[in-house]
Amino acid sequence: MKKYIISTAIIIVLLIAAMILFLRQGDEKDNSVALETLQLIQIDSYIAISSNDITAYNRGIPFYLSVETKGKNNAEDVTDFFYETFDSVMLYSDAHGILFSTDSFIWAMAENTENQYNITLFIRPGLDEFIITEATKVDKIIFSANNEKMEYDLINCTVEAKETILEDKLYVASAVMLTDINEDLSAAISYGFFENTASVEGIELYYPAGFAKIEKHDFPEMTYRDDGVVYYQGYLHFLSKNEKVVFRPFIQVNYDGSSGWVVPAVPAYINYLNQNPD
């Protein structure tokens, strides 16, 4: 009898220990991403999207964020956490109210420094889900995560839509994703176009005048062809230093005596140089 009681007690103690261990592991996993540290890492943003082409990122609206983590984790863990935790996202305009809401995200993340991840979020509105006829300022991005709202102010974020050339003619196969503002306040940019049936004759950029202190742009004779892609390399000229600029302009492409708009797959993320840590 005594043995039976002792055995039962041991089993109960072991079961309790296992339960505590299980709960602790669960807590650790939940706490591995410090969601309270999630922040936007963009200031001036101009996002061109297609009004007629849903493929790839043509209607994708990107956002740049960062988050801190605790303990050991990897990009896959953090990505899974975001997919599991975030229920929906809403774009809000002070002038127009709710612009778009979706429960569909494209999260991509990579560890930037130890326990700090940089995140790119794309949301891709369908053709009928987000119709804008002019450049539209987005003032807030509001997440719903675990039934709690997380609201972030967008300082200067504009989205604009235009009808774009379809891929059977040509598309942007290479887009600057990271560049820096030099001492002379110029930032190098590069776009490449895959010519399916159309031949590119020249390009021009379109974005709001004065956006992000950009004074002008130019495309000097720095064009080359490689592997079926024709590349145009040029410069943005800024009036003064700027940082955390997200820049996806429309590109007007002249081709075969005609012209039309395309959008780069991704924006350029632009910072001023000499960010030397003290």
Partner: protein, 233 residues
């Protein structure tokens, strides 16, 4: 006849050795066998989100570069052969067309042929651990040492540079696309004339003459641009 040749040979050899002795006696002797490249000092420059690791010359290498521009002799023939005192320099420095370079942090295209669901799209990124080295590219002639080029146009034209990123940005590859990251950058290109000037120290008034040859060097990377390439297949 044999006696005359022997006497002439003896005189020639005596003259040559005398020249060396005179030269060594009149001008500093520079040991050109020493390689100071391991003493270079790494310098890190942050340009926006890019990191460029370069090198500054050590005091020893700068001193060598300066000394080589004054008349000197060498005890060995590492750099070039000359029994006569001489100096090295470069001139006619001109900016040429910048050189363009392309580097893929990962040369393999990431193909998304399996994941139409956008939450499963594979990612491509340029991470902080991936870097490329723009190697030292300098060409000289007529015995001009790289340290001479460094003192004239800067060490950035004679040393290597490593490019990396401080900000990792990741994108996913949409369905039915191939994706990869490509990094473009330029390096300034300079051409110049290499000059080795000789001095004949014998006699009351020294006479000088020079040899010239071509030279060029490529400097620090600039206009670094990371691009995302997305292609249909």
């Amino acid at each position: 006849m044999k006696k005359i040749i022997a006497v002439l040979l003896t005189l020639t050899m005596t003259f040559s050795f005398g020249l060396i002795v005179l030269a060594k006696g009149s001008y500093p002797i520079i040991d050109d066998t020493v390689d100071y490249s391991s003493l270079r000092i790494p310098v890190i420059t942050y340009e926006g989100d890019f990191i460029i690791e370069s090198f500054e010359l050590s005091d020893e290498e700068i001193e060598l570069g300066k000394k080589l521009q004054d008349f000197h002799v060498h005890p060995a023939m590492t750099r070039h052969f000359s029994l006569i005192a001489h100096s090295h320099s470069i001139r006619d420095i001109k900016d040429g067309t910048a050189k363009q370079y392309v580097w893929n942090p990962s040369s393999i295209w990431v193909r998304n042929s399996l994941y139409p669901n956008e939450s499963s799209w594979p990612a491509v990124s340029w991470t902080q651990s991936q870097s490329t080295t723009a190697s030292a590219t300098v060409s000289t002639s007529v015995g001009v040492d790289n340290s001479v080029v460094s003192t004239s146009v800067g060490a950035s034209f004679t040393t290597s540079h490593t490019i990396s990123t401080s900000t990792t940005i990741t994108f996913t590859v949409p369905y039915q696309r191939d994706g990869r990251i490509k990094v473009n950058y330029y390096r300034p290109y300079k051409t110049f004339t290499c000059v080795t000037k000789y001095v004949d120290g014998l006699g009351g008034s020294a006479t000088t003459w020079e040899e010239t040859g071509p030279g060029n060097a490529i400097g620090t990377p600039y206009n670094i641009v990371a691009t995302l390439e997305l292609k249909t297949y």
